[in-house]
């Protein structure tokens, strides 16, 4: 997401095209995400130079055989820092959205299924919380809740995403819950638990997965912005955002230092957004295929 609000991610989920095939580019994107996640998990096993090792004999070296992406102003290997930096972005992205889904999704499903007072009560609360600009709340809480750590960042962004996940899942469930087969299951005497797990969940899964992926991309963008402003994990721990932030001061001497982390971040986001968009349009059966 070029801007960091989950609200726009929601608009994207709602407004995409329907019923398209997955295509080759989809699998290229999946491969790219897989490669990045692999690199993030096995960064210390892979033959990479230490990302914190400073080498003052090789400062601001351009890309080459010895240092694939060159070195930064302290002589640290940029490629290695990008691979290690992906750990922060991916952990925050997945962790925060997991919190959002862990709380927001069950509540949203229950509210849409039960309706009545429970639903209107929850929905009003979530509406009030949604009106609060999440990015500003995140900056505010992180600036006061010191010392900052990866865990706190995940919690703050995760909590901020709950109302939006709730709204997306509730809307998706609402459109399914009134379908004939759900009523048929109810008439047959199926338990609530069975209806929720076997009838509703599989039918909202495509929207949920799609929103999950686009949500991860949005959170990674947000973490990048926080890191850029110096509100994420503290240096020297590399993250894509704080690498761009560090490059800011030496923009004229070393262009590569800003270029490679930016490229890594953008490619990762494009791939995630594309996969999310395609999954949703591919599995959408509401209009085109029925």
């Amino acid at each position: 997401m070029s801007s960091f609000s989950l609200e726009e991610a929601e608009l994207m989920v709602e407004k995409s095209e329907k019923g398209e095939p997955l295509g080759l580019f989809f699998w290229i994107c999946v491969f790219w995400i897989g490669l990045n996640v692999f690199g993030a998990i096995f960064a210390n096993v892979l033959p990479l130079p230490n990302p914190l090792n400073e080498n003052f004999n090789a400062i601001n070296v351009g890309p080459g055989l010895h240092h694939l992406f060159g070195t930064d102003d302290l002589g640290r290997d940029i490629f290695s820092r990008i691979v290690y930096g992906s750990r922060v972005s991916i952990t925050v992205g997945i962790g925060a959205i997991l919190i959002g889904f862990g709380v927001g999704a069950p509540l949203g499903m229950l509210a849409a299924y039960r309706r009545g007072r429970f639903d209107s009560f929850l929905t009003t609360i979530m509406y009030v919380l949604l009106a609060f600009p999440a990015i500003i709340a995140t900056i505010a809480v992180l600036s006061f809740w010191t010392p900052r750590s990866l865990f706190k960042i995940i919690v703050v962004i995760g909590v901020a995403s709950i109302p939006l996940v709730y709204r997306v899942i509730r809307t998706a469930t609402l459109s399914v819950a009134t379908k004939d087969y759900v009523i048929a299951a109810k008439v047959q005497g199926a338990t609530d638990r069975r209806i929720l797990m076997k009838e509703l969940l599989p039918n909202i899964a495509p929207i949920a997965v799609s929103f999950f992926l686009i949500g991860v991309a949005t959170v990674i963008t947000l973490e990048g912005a926080l890191a850029f402003l110096g509100l994420s994990v503290n240096p020297p721990t590399p993250s894509w955002g704080n690498m761009i932030n560090e490059a800011r001061t030496v923009l004229t001497q070393n262009v590569w230092l800003a270029f490679f982390p930016s490229l890594a971040l953008c490619l990762f986001l494009i791939a995630l957004n594309f996969i999310g968009d395609r999954i949703r349009s591919h599995f959408d059966v509401t209009e085109v295929k029925l």
């Binding site: 997401m1 070029s2 801007s3 960091f4 609000s5 609200e7 726009e8 608009l11 994207m12 407004k15 509406y127 009030v128 919380l129 009106a131 609060f132 600009p133 999440a134 990015i135 500003i136 709340a137 900056i139 505010a140 809480v141 600036s143 006061f144 809740w145 010191t146 010392p147 991309a217 963008t221 990048g224 912005a225 850029f228 402003l229 110096g230 509100l231 955002g241 761009i244 490059a247 800011r248 923009l251 004229t252 262009v255 800003a258 930016s262 971040l265 953008c266 986001l269 494009i270 957004n273 594309f274 968009d277």
Partner: protein, 316 residues
């Protein structure tokens, strides 16, 4: 309409209450005694006394809220302990810069998004639509902090356009041309961010609107394509556009913070980050409160405008 507005107004009051409690509680997230953290260990007793009076720190926490709220309602947001100026004057000098950047960017974004979306919607899946679609999807994945770095690299450093680089800011009062030059890259960045959202939403909404019966009716009457677009299709579709603009405002402010930080433009964002780094917490609290209330108020205003454009909404 009136009933709808009263309902919305009551919700607005509730939201502002939640925001005020949240902003108030921020101070208590600080580790240790707020007075010591805010003022540092070498604080004078006088400074401490002022802070205690401002925040009501000697009272129990729920009473502190009312002391604090009372001060806020009198326009007293406290004093910055770094610059010794009042927080409200800090905000008053910074806020117009954010306003100017956002207004400039929105003019550019609407001017670009409306014609392109109409062009796309006229022939969905045509060549122009596909190119625009792919471009907007790619732009969607480029965060503003990368866009501004790229722009500064190319335009201010490579091409050497003067007055656009870091710390080139000149206030509007001094010279408006230089002022516009110094704000051109930030405004362009924010405009791109908004353009992508507006284009995508207006395009899909226009496509849906163009399939409605009243458009077919207008076509059969022989009304020109251009007139149908502007007079018949645009008004119902502009509701979605206004909604997107309303949702966009929070992230736009945040994107503004990022570009200001890079270019050292003394708007709210740059002031906020400086205050965070200097532990000037009352300034941070004041800016957070102002920005949050402002965003909510703007959203409320947009709700009102959307209602004027499409009165059906309030009857639902």
């Amino acid at each position: 309409m009136l009933r709808y507005l009263t309902k919305r107004l009551m919700l607005l009051v509730g939201i502002v209450f939640v925001i005020s409690v949240g902003s108030f509680y921020l101070i208590h997230l600080l580790p240790g005694n707020p007075a010591t953290v805010i003022l540092g260990f070498g604080a004078t007793p006088e400074a401490k006394a002022i802070l205690y009076k401002q925040l009501g720190l000697s009272k129990p926490i729920y009473l502190q809220y009312f002391v604090w709220l009372g001060n806020i309602l009198h326009g007293n947001l406290g004093v910055s302990f770094i610059s010794q100026t009042t927080v409200s004057s800090v905000i008053r000098s910074a806020l117009p810069i954010d306003g100017e950047i956002i207004i400039l960017s929105q003019i550019m974004a609407f001017a670009a998004a409306i014609p392109t979306a109409m062009r796309s919607a006229r022939k969905p899946d045509g060549i122009i639509d596909r190119v625009l679609g792919a471009t907007s999807f790619t732009l969607l994945s480029i965060p503003p902090y990368i866009l501004i770095v790229v722009l500064v690299l190319f335009i201010s450093i490579k091409l050497g356009v003067s007055g656009t680089g870091p710390s080139a800011y000149v206030s509007l009062g001094t010279d408006w041309i230089t002022n516009l030059e110094s704000l051109s890259l930030p405004a362009f960045t924010l405009a791109t961010v908004s353009f992508v959202v507006y284009y995508r939403i207006l395009r899909s909404d226009l496509i849906a609107t163009l399939q409605e019966e009243f458009i077919t009716m207008a076509r059969s009457k022989g009304i020109s394509q251009r007139r149908i677009m502007w007079c018949h299709a645009f008004r119902p579709s502009s509701v979605a556009l206004l909604g997107a603009a309303s949702v966009n405002i929070g992230s736009l402010l945040a994107a503004g913070f990022v570009v200001q930080y890079l270019l050292q433009i003394p708007g709210l964002g740059y002031t906020l980050i400086l205050a965070i780094n200097e532990s000037d917490f009352l300034v941070v609290q004041g800016i957070v409160l102002t920005v949050s209330v402002l965003v909510v108020a703007i959203n409320f205003f947009f709700d009102f405008v959307i209602n004027m454009v499409d009165p059906r909404i309030s009857r639902e």
